[in-house]
């Protein structure tokens, strides 16, 4: 029970746990909330309207910030997987599992906001744009990671196999990006990538959005880790019960 530090044995209720979480993370919560609201405000009020694309371009800030968050998340999956294979500490695998889920969530956001942006601007839902296509492959890759985890019963084998896949997948990521980008570069450019006229206000807004999403990532990660630790606790109790029967 030593690893489940956030669960007081025998007495703590879930509401108690949540209270403690909010108290322990109050600065992170406040900062994330503030930055997210500011980013939203900047996206609509501070950043100018884009000359060619119009209002839809405002999705750019959260679209890119989501992609940034997803890459951070998948990097953590990689580091967690590597460390787990090296050290065998379940804590690293928990980071990987939690992070993969969050990464998939935000890649989904990228994959939905991308077409929503493409449709009014280029009159097509899917442009086979290099970055979007790579995001699609990444999305499938990490969904596969989650499916693999789901298919394996709780055991060291599960954590180990997941770690192997997490490792292989991330090593592949740059190669995927490169090969897709190169594939795209060979085609006559019908749709000019993200041909935006970038004003300085836009860059400020983008930077702030990325900062806000960075904090959001850590907040979600901590929440998700708490869930994972609880699952471990339930697991170990189930095992104890099984032994006693």
């Amino acid at each position: 029970m030593s690893q489940t530090a956030n669960v007081h044995p025998h007495t703590e209720s879930v509401s108690g746990m949540l209270e403690r979480f909010v108290r322990a993370n109050r600065w992170l919560l406040a900062a994330t909330g503030a930055l997210m609201l500011t980013a939203l405000g900047m996206a609509f009020l501070y950043a100018p309207r884009e000359q060619v694309m119009g209002e839809i371009q405002r999705i750019f800030y959260f679209h890119v910030a989501s992609a940034w968050l997803a890459m951070m998340a998948f990097l953590v999956v990689f580091v967690g997987s590597l460390l787990y294979l090296w050290k065998g500490d379940r804590r690293f695998d928990r980071w990987a599992a939690a992070s993969a889920e969050i990464g998939v969530l935000f890649t989904t956001i990228v994959l939905v906001t991308g077409p929503l942006w493409a449709r009014p601007v280029w009159n097509t839902w899917w442009t086979w744009d290099a970055r979007l296509t790579s995001s699609l492959v990444l999305w499938i890759m990490y969904i596969a990671y989650l499916v693999l985890r789901g298919a394996l019963p709780e055991s060291r084998k599960k954590y180990q196999f997941s770690a192997v896949y997490g490792l292989v997948a991330f090593v592949d990521v740059p190669i995927v990006f490169f090969s897709i980008r190169w594939w795209r570069s060979m085609h006559p450019v019908v749709i000019t990538g993200k041909g935006m006229n970038l004003e300085p206000e836009m860059i400020h807004t983008l930077a702030l959005s990325c900062a806000a999403f960075t904090l959001l990532y850590f907040l979600l990660l901590r929440l998700r880790l708490m869930v994972e630790r609880l699952r471990d606790e339930v697991q170990s109790l189930q095992r104890t019960l099984l032994e006693l029967e």
Partner: protein
Amino acid sequence: MNIYLFAGYSFILVLIFGYVAFLHGKLHKLGRELDELRDRLREKARP
């Protein structure tokens, strides 16, 4: 503001808050499981 922009931001917010709600639900469900398991363990220890 056009419909696509609205759809985009709405989707983002729904997903983020939806995920938090999902985790919240997970926590409660696991908490109930934990309580149930602890009760069963306590009964084992009694006789």
